[in-house]
């Protein structure tokens, strides 16, 4: 109720913009929507997590790598369709695996992926 009163007052007094204020020496506030993709990459043969897998996307330059726990996380702008490619780029370090593509549509804001890569 208090929040509602504040919003009404802010709007009437032409200060509704102040609800999205920015501090003197700060950035603008971030209220945009985006989508997060995160998950774990494992070996299909052993079930072990794989470190150093490159996760690239259909957005130029937007990529990530799996960490020592096989985990990755990447935020991408809103789109109808996302293509994620999982690629072993460190030769035989951490094993050697076949590249894998996946296409995802209708993303609800957050997607968790469990990816299994086939050893070469």
């Amino acid at each position: 109720m208090k929040n509602l009163i504040l919003k009404i007052l802010g709007s009437i007094s032409l200060t509704s913009v102040l609800f999205v204020f920015q501090a003197c020496y700060g950035t603008p506030q971030d209220m945009e929507q985006d989508n997060q993709f995160e998950g774990i990459v494992k070996s299909k043969a052993s079930g072990n997590v794989i470190k150093g897998i490159k996760v690239s996307t259909n957005f130029e330059g937007r990529q990530s790598y799996t960490n020592e726990n096989g985990e990755f996380s990447i935020f991408l702008p809103l789109a109808d369709e996302y293509k994620l490619t999982f690629e072993d780029v460190d030769s035989t370090v951490n094993g050697a695996f076949t590249k894998y593509d996946t296409v995802i549509t209708d993303v609800p804001g957050y997607v968790h992926l469990d990816i299994l890569l086939q050893p070469k």
Partner: protein, 349 residues
């Protein structure tokens, strides 16, 4: 008549907002290291800081105490945040906790690779400083080539539809004559928002009065901003740094409201809990290594939320105090006997 009603409603809004004091905006002074040595630095940062970067887990332990009431934007500042090698991991962990994040940067290290890495880690807001055309910027930033690097960073950031991005300029006697040319330069690289500051006599600028604007130059700045706002080609505005007297609502979207300690908090490099990082250290409310951050936020900050103490010096008998409340809190330093800057009545002076 409408203006008086709006102002009265705004005062009521400000009173209620102060009473509720929801934390929406949190500065994290994640490093005091800096790759530049700007003449006007309010933080007095340097290449070799004596204060180590705060470890990410320490910051997260403090923010985990927050009972959120709406979205919080965490602004990583410094120093130069791009010097932190774990910046992307910091951002990912902040997003993981349901908060948003952005950085304030001098742009010197902001290249395409870092741009993509930061966006991939969920960065949603960015501010880059551009303090004049080439010579003026390099002079103030005290580094040759810094204009070129900042300009490249600005073009890159402006190309992202996702980023809430703006350019900030510290206006001073050296660059005030260049604002018109800067405006068209920023338009040419598709910048949508430009925020202009003045330099307060604090930090290194305290010893450098040639950086400060006279009342006449300040009026010139206000007129410039007001005229560019009418064009509606770019969101040009004066920062929230101070009350502007007769220019209120012409140079910003709303009335002056210093939200330090009301909506804005900070965790400084040494763990101090305060509001905007340029506020005098005597206003520090606690320390995350000793106190529960959110308890301090909820129950401390009394001088931030009740500004009646600022009725002193030239503010004591001022008939505009109810709108200004003693100006921006960063303008009270040292013994706090007098506000450092007052722009009341500048049009008449």
């Amino acid at each position: 008549m409408t203006g008086r009603i709006n102002r009265s409603l705004f005062r009521l809004f400000r009173k209620l907002e102060t009473s509720a004091h929801p934390l929406n905006y949190l500065f994290w002074e994640c490093t005091t290291r800096c790759n530049l040595s700007c003449l006007h630095c309010g933080s007095d940062c340097s290449k070799e800081s004596g204060i180590p970067d705060m470890p990410l887990p320490d910051f997260l332990r403090a923010t985990d105490t927050i009972q959120r009431n709406g979205l919080i934007t965490v602004v990583l500042t410094g120093g130069e945040p791009l010097l932190r090698r774990d910046l992307e991991e910091c951002g990912r962990q902040i997003r993981k906790r349901g908060m948003r994040w952005g950085i304030v940067s001098n742009g010197y290290l902001y290249n395409k690779e870092r741009h993509n890495a930061l966006l991939s880690a969920g960065m949603g807001a960015l501010t880059i400083s551009l303090d004049g055309l080439e010579n003026s910027h390099n002079w103030l930033r005290n580094t040759a080539g810094s204009f070129e690097r900042a300009a490249q960073a600005i073009a890159l950031a402006a190309s992202s539809a996702r980023l809430n991005f703006d350019v900030v300029t510290c206006v001073n006697p050296h660059n005030i004559g260049e604002l018109e040319e800067m405006y068209y330069f920023l338009l040419s690289v598709k910048v949508k928002a430009w925020r202009l500051f003045t330099i307060a006599p604090i930090g290194r600028a305290e010893l450098n009065p040639e950086l400060l604007l006279t009342d006449g130059k300040f009026s010139q700045l206000m007129d410039f901003i007001a005229s560019k706002r009418e064009l509606k080609q770019m969101d040009v505005k004066f920062s929230c740094e101070s009350y502007t007297g007769p220019y209120e609502t012409r140079v910003r979207d709303g009335y002056f409201f210093c939200r330090a300690g009301i909506n804005i908090g900070s965790i400084l490099a040494d763990g101090s809990i305060s509001a905007c990082p340029n506020i005098d250290h005597s206003f520090v409310q606690g320390n995350i290594y000793r106190d529960n951050f959110f308890e301090v936020w909820q129950h401390g900050f009394t001088d931030f939320r009740d500004r009646q103490w600022a009725r002193r010096g030239k503010c004591a008998g001022c008939n505009e105090f109810k709108d200004c409340l003693g100006n921006g809190l960063h303008l009270w330093h040292g013994d706090k006997k007098e506000v450092l800057v007052c722009r009341k009545g500048i049009a008449e002076r």
